[in-house]
């Protein structure tokens, strides 16, 4: 499957990009598995606090990820 990853703020600094496509050799996975994959790829994410949005909805627990999903890694908000 192919998913789109979006990175913002501090997270974009850590991974050094704002967006990328990721091709995974599985048909689906969980948000937890995706996180593990990303933390292997970007060690800077390991001790960093971020929320995950799947298709613009923030997930509160482990969530299935499917082909074409858009996953955003969101550092703490600073609006206002």
């Amino acid at each position: 499957m192919i998913i789109t990853l979006k990175y913002f703020g501090l997270i974009a600094d850590l991974v050094n990009t704002h967006e990328e496509q990721l091709e995974l050799s599985v048909d689906n996975c969980t948000s937890q598995e995706l996180c593990d994959t990303l933390q292997s790829k970007y060690p800077g994410l390991v001790n960093t606090n971020f929320a995950i949005a799947v298709n613009q909805l923030i997930i509160q627990s482990v969530t299935p990820i499917s082909n074409n999903d858009i996953i955003a890694l969101l550092p703490p908000f600073a609006g206002g």
Partner: protein
């Protein structure tokens, strides 16, 4: 009671000017059912971080999700409170210290509800809209702001 619920763009490029706020207030003078307005303005502070003064905040956002969140927050406020109209504007891009980055405007026939609705809106915006702030320091270094 007249209500305004159309989806509007919330982000404005750069600082929100005092003239824009004045004009926005003036537009409500034809709505003669309104008795009370309550306005919240966020202004960029010249905080000192590790000995260096903040000179600006550069705001970025997950814009599609943020506009959706703003829409949901607006709808929630209309459902919860008997307000005549409400408006939210937030800066994107660079806002210098002393300039305004957030303008929330609530109007209703009576005053009680405007306090409550404004408080609800501002707290929801701070807590749930994916906006990020890069605090630019006087030596051109930066830190990432987080809401408390």
């Amino acid at each position: 009671m007249e209500t305004e619920k159309k989806i509007k763009k919330t982000f404005v490029q750069g600082a929100i000017s005092p003239e824009f706020i004045g004009t926005s207030i003036a537009k409500h003078q034809s709505k003669t059912a309104i008795g009370a307005h309550n306005i919240f303005l966020g202004q960029v502070r010249a905080d000192v971080i590790e000995g260096k003064k903040v000179v600006a905040i550069k705001y970025s956002a997950y814009e599609e999700m943020a506009e959706l969140k703003f829409y949901e927050i607006r709808e929630a406020a209309f459902a919860k409170y008997e307000v005549t109209c409400l408006h939210i504007y937030h800066s994107i891009g660079t806002v210098k210290t002393g300039e305004i980055c957030l303008f929330v405007f609530v109007s209703a026939p009576k005053r009680k509800v405007v306090y409550e609705a404004l408080h609800f809106l501002v707290e929801e915006i701070k807590a749930s809209v994916p906006i990020f702030g890069k605090e630019i320091l006087e030596d051109d270094s930066y830190t990432w702001k987080t809401n408390s």
